[in-house]
Protein backbone atom coordinates (compact mmCIF):
# COMPACT_ATOMS: atom_id res chain seq x y z
CA UNK A 1 0.00 0.00 0.00
CA UNK A 2 1.37 3.39 -0.87
CA UNK A 3 0.22 6.96 -0.42
CA UNK A 4 1.96 8.14 -3.58
CA UNK A 5 -1.21 9.88 -4.74
CA UNK A 6 -0.84 12.36 -1.86
CA UNK A 7 2.06 13.86 -3.88
CA UNK A 8 -0.49 15.01 -6.44
CA UNK A 9 -2.61 16.99 -3.99
CA UNK A 10 -1.65 20.66 -3.40
CA UNK A 11 -0.29 21.49 0.08
CA UNK A 12 -3.09 23.91 1.00
CA UNK A 13 -5.75 21.28 0.19
CA UNK A 14 -3.98 18.72 2.33
CA UNK A 15 -3.72 21.11 5.28
CA UNK A 16 -7.39 22.01 4.97
CA UNK A 17 -8.49 18.36 4.65
CA UNK A 18 -6.44 17.21 7.67
CA UNK A 19 -7.84 20.02 9.82
CA UNK A 20 -11.42 19.43 8.67
CA UNK A 21 -11.23 15.67 9.38
CA UNK A 22 -10.00 16.47 12.89
CA UNK A 23 -12.70 19.10 13.54
CA UNK A 24 -15.54 17.03 12.05
CA UNK A 25 -14.37 13.99 14.04
CA UNK A 26 -14.28 15.98 17.30
CA UNK A 27 -17.70 17.55 16.63
CA UNK A 28 -19.28 14.16 15.78
CA UNK A 29 -17.70 12.46 18.77
CA UNK A 30 -18.94 15.07 21.24
CA UNK A 31 -22.31 15.39 19.48
CA UNK A 32 -22.74 11.63 19.94
CA UNK A 33 -22.29 12.10 23.69
CA UNK A 34 -24.80 14.94 23.76
CA UNK A 35 -27.28 12.97 21.62
CA UNK A 36 -27.28 10.25 24.29
CA UNK A 37 -29.36 12.56 26.48
CA UNK A 38 -31.41 14.17 23.71
CA UNK A 39 -34.83 12.77 22.84
CA UNK A 40 -35.63 11.74 19.19
CA UNK A 41 -31.95 11.52 18.15
CA UNK A 42 -30.87 9.24 20.98
CA UNK A 43 -30.53 6.25 18.61
CA UNK A 44 -27.83 8.02 16.55
CA UNK A 45 -25.45 8.54 19.45
CA UNK A 46 -23.45 5.29 19.06
CA UNK A 47 -22.78 5.48 15.28
CA UNK A 48 -21.93 9.15 15.70
CA UNK A 49 -19.44 8.42 18.46
CA UNK A 50 -17.82 5.57 16.49
CA UNK A 51 -17.51 7.57 13.26
CA UNK A 52 -16.41 10.63 15.24
CA UNK A 53 -13.76 8.60 17.03
CA UNK A 54 -12.41 7.17 13.74
CA UNK A 55 -12.33 10.61 12.15
CA UNK A 56 -10.64 12.02 15.24
CA UNK A 57 -7.92 9.38 15.04
CA UNK A 58 -7.54 9.82 11.29
CA UNK A 59 -7.43 13.61 11.66
CA UNK A 60 -4.74 13.35 14.35
CA UNK A 61 -2.77 10.96 12.16
CA UNK A 62 -3.07 13.13 9.07
CA UNK A 63 -2.11 16.28 10.97
CA UNK A 64 0.98 14.54 12.29
CA UNK A 65 1.74 12.97 8.92
CA UNK A 66 1.36 16.31 7.20
CA UNK A 67 4.56 17.53 8.86
CA UNK A 68 6.41 14.51 7.46
CA UNK A 69 4.81 15.06 4.04
CA UNK A 70 5.86 18.74 4.04
CA UNK A 71 9.40 17.80 5.02
CA UNK A 72 9.39 15.21 2.22
CA UNK A 73 8.23 17.78 -0.31
CA UNK A 74 10.93 20.20 0.85
CA UNK A 75 13.53 17.47 0.36
CA UNK A 76 12.24 16.75 -3.14
CA UNK A 77 12.41 20.45 -4.01
CA UNK A 78 15.92 20.71 -2.57
CA UNK A 79 17.02 17.63 -4.48
CA UNK A 80 15.55 18.96 -7.73
CA UNK A 81 17.49 22.22 -7.28
CA UNK A 82 20.68 20.30 -6.55
CA UNK A 83 20.19 18.14 -9.66
CA UNK A 84 19.56 21.22 -11.82
CA UNK A 85 22.72 22.86 -10.48
CA UNK A 86 24.69 19.65 -11.00
CA UNK A 87 23.47 19.30 -14.59
CA UNK A 88 24.38 22.91 -15.30
CA UNK A 89 27.84 22.41 -13.75
CA UNK A 90 28.31 19.29 -15.85
CA UNK A 91 27.32 21.22 -19.00
CA UNK A 92 29.82 23.97 -18.16
CA UNK A 93 32.54 21.37 -17.56
CA UNK A 94 31.78 19.87 -20.99
CA UNK A 95 32.07 23.28 -22.64
CA UNK A 96 35.46 23.82 -20.97
CA UNK A 97 36.65 20.35 -21.99
CA UNK A 98 35.63 20.96 -25.61
CA UNK A 99 37.42 24.32 -25.57
CA UNK A 100 40.63 22.81 -24.15
CA UNK A 101 40.61 20.02 -26.75
CA UNK A 102 40.02 22.51 -29.55
CA UNK A 103 42.76 24.91 -28.40
CA UNK A 104 45.36 22.24 -27.66
CA UNK A 105 44.67 20.39 -30.91
CA UNK A 106 45.35 23.58 -32.83
CA UNK A 107 48.70 23.90 -31.01
CA UNK A 108 49.59 20.26 -31.83
CA UNK A 109 48.69 20.76 -35.50
CA UNK A 110 50.82 23.92 -35.63
CA UNK A 111 53.74 22.10 -33.98
CA UNK A 112 53.43 19.26 -36.49
CA UNK A 113 53.29 21.67 -39.42
CA UNK A 114 56.38 23.51 -38.12
CA UNK A 115 58.35 20.29 -37.72
CA UNK A 116 57.32 19.12 -41.19
CA UNK A 117 58.46 22.44 -42.62
CA UNK A 118 61.77 22.06 -40.77
CA UNK A 119 62.22 18.52 -42.20
CA UNK A 120 61.44 19.85 -45.68
CA UNK A 121 64.03 22.61 -45.23
CA UNK A 122 66.71 20.13 -44.07
CA UNK A 123 65.68 17.40 -46.53
CA UNK A 124 68.92 17.30 -48.50
CA UNK A 125 71.03 17.18 -45.37
CA UNK A 126 68.89 14.43 -43.79
CA UNK A 127 68.88 12.25 -46.90
CA UNK A 128 72.58 12.68 -47.62
CA UNK A 129 73.91 9.93 -45.38
CA UNK A 130 71.19 7.32 -45.17
CA UNK A 131 68.82 5.36 -47.38
CA UNK A 132 65.99 3.22 -46.06
CA UNK A 133 65.86 -0.49 -46.84
CA UNK A 134 62.56 -2.49 -47.10
CA UNK A 135 63.45 -4.31 -43.86
CA UNK A 136 63.72 -1.01 -42.01
CA UNK A 137 60.27 0.01 -43.25
CA UNK A 138 58.73 -3.32 -42.21
CA UNK A 139 60.24 -2.99 -38.75
CA UNK A 140 59.09 0.59 -38.44
CA UNK A 141 55.52 -0.30 -39.42
CA UNK A 142 55.52 -3.30 -37.08
CA UNK A 143 56.26 -1.02 -34.17
CA UNK A 144 53.25 1.06 -35.14
CA UNK A 145 50.72 -1.57 -36.17
CA UNK A 146 51.76 -4.54 -34.07
CA UNK A 147 52.63 -7.95 -35.47
CA UNK A 148 49.38 -8.55 -37.39
Amino acid sequence: MSLWFIQLIPTSWLEFAALMILIVGAVMFFAGHIFKYTPFVKQYNFPLRVIGFILLLAGAYFNGGLGVEMEYRARIEEMQKKVELAEEESRQANIQIERVIEQQTVVVKEDTAETLAEIERLKAEINANCELTPEMIILYNKGMEGNE
Partner: protein, 99 residues
Amino acid sequence: MDRTQVGIVILVIVFVLLLQGCASTTVPVTMNFPEAPEPILMEPEKLDPLPEDTKEMSELLENSTVNYGKYRELQIKYQQWQRWYNTNRRIHKDTTEGN
Protein backbone atom coordinates in the same frame (compact mmCIF):
# COMPACT_ATOMS: atom_id res chain seq x y z
CA MET B 1 -20.93 -8.27 13.79
CA ASP B 2 -20.95 -7.56 17.52
CA ARG B 3 -19.34 -4.58 19.25
CA THR B 4 -16.07 -6.48 19.96
CA GLN B 5 -15.63 -7.36 16.30
CA VAL B 6 -16.31 -3.76 15.29
CA GLY B 7 -13.72 -2.65 17.83
CA ILE B 8 -11.14 -5.08 16.38
CA VAL B 9 -11.79 -3.84 12.83
CA ILE B 10 -11.36 -0.24 13.98
CA LEU B 11 -8.10 -1.15 15.74
CA VAL B 12 -6.76 -2.89 12.62
CA ILE B 13 -7.56 0.16 10.49
CA VAL B 14 -5.86 2.48 12.98
CA PHE B 15 -2.73 0.28 13.07
CA VAL B 16 -2.55 0.12 9.28
CA LEU B 17 -2.75 3.90 9.14
CA LEU B 18 -0.08 4.27 11.80
CA LEU B 19 2.25 1.80 10.06
CA GLN B 20 1.80 3.65 6.80
CA GLY B 21 3.47 6.60 8.51
CA CYS B 22 6.64 4.50 8.87
CA ALA B 23 6.83 3.87 5.12
CA SER B 24 10.10 4.68 3.37
CA THR B 25 10.49 8.29 2.26
CA THR B 26 13.24 8.05 -0.33
CA VAL B 27 13.24 11.19 -2.45
CA PRO B 28 12.03 10.20 -5.97
CA VAL B 29 14.41 12.54 -7.81
CA THR B 30 17.19 11.01 -9.88
CA MET B 31 20.09 12.53 -11.73
CA ASN B 32 20.43 11.75 -15.43
CA PHE B 33 23.66 10.19 -16.60
CA PRO B 34 25.78 13.10 -17.89
CA GLU B 35 26.52 13.47 -21.59
CA ALA B 36 30.18 13.39 -22.56
CA PRO B 37 31.44 16.07 -24.96
CA GLU B 38 31.47 15.15 -28.65
CA PRO B 39 35.27 15.35 -29.29
CA ILE B 40 36.10 12.70 -26.70
CA LEU B 41 33.53 10.30 -28.13
CA MET B 42 35.09 10.30 -31.59
CA GLU B 43 36.92 7.26 -32.99
CA PRO B 44 40.69 7.63 -32.55
CA GLU B 45 42.62 8.27 -35.75
CA LYS B 46 44.82 5.41 -36.98
CA LEU B 47 48.55 5.96 -37.33
CA ASP B 48 49.88 6.29 -40.88
CA PRO B 49 52.15 3.40 -41.91
CA LEU B 50 55.23 4.17 -43.97
CA PRO B 51 54.73 3.38 -47.70
CA GLU B 52 56.76 0.35 -48.78
CA ASP B 53 58.53 2.22 -51.57
CA THR B 54 59.95 4.80 -49.22
CA LYS B 55 63.64 5.40 -49.78
CA GLU B 56 64.45 8.64 -48.04
CA MET B 57 65.06 9.25 -44.37
CA SER B 58 63.15 12.53 -44.54
CA GLU B 59 59.96 10.65 -45.42
CA LEU B 60 60.37 8.49 -42.36
CA LEU B 61 60.82 11.59 -40.24
CA GLU B 62 57.74 13.19 -41.80
CA ASN B 63 55.70 10.06 -41.17
CA SER B 64 56.77 9.82 -37.54
CA THR B 65 56.12 13.54 -37.00
CA VAL B 66 52.55 13.16 -38.31
CA ASN B 67 52.03 10.09 -36.11
CA TYR B 68 53.44 11.83 -33.05
CA GLY B 69 50.98 14.62 -33.72
CA LYS B 70 48.13 12.11 -33.78
CA TYR B 71 49.37 10.60 -30.53
CA ARG B 72 49.52 14.04 -28.88
CA GLU B 73 45.98 14.83 -30.00
CA LEU B 74 44.83 11.54 -28.54
CA GLN B 75 46.76 12.27 -25.34
CA ILE B 76 44.84 15.56 -24.97
CA LYS B 77 41.54 13.75 -25.42
CA TYR B 78 42.53 11.06 -22.96
CA GLN B 79 43.45 13.66 -20.34
CA GLN B 80 40.14 15.40 -20.93
CA TRP B 81 38.31 12.09 -20.57
CA GLN B 82 39.89 11.74 -17.12
CA ARG B 83 38.96 15.32 -16.30
CA TRP B 84 35.37 14.70 -17.46
CA TYR B 85 35.13 11.56 -15.32
CA ASN B 86 36.60 13.19 -12.20
CA THR B 87 34.41 16.29 -12.55
CA ASN B 88 31.20 14.34 -13.03
CA ARG B 89 32.08 11.91 -10.28
CA ARG B 90 32.54 14.83 -7.87
CA ILE B 91 29.31 16.49 -9.04
CA HIS B 92 27.37 13.23 -8.64
CA LYS B 93 28.82 12.69 -5.17
CA ASP B 94 28.04 16.25 -4.04
CA THR B 95 24.49 15.98 -5.36
CA THR B 96 23.46 12.57 -4.13
CA GLU B 97 25.29 12.42 -0.80
CA GLY B 98 22.88 12.44 2.15
CA ASN B 99 19.75 11.80 0.06
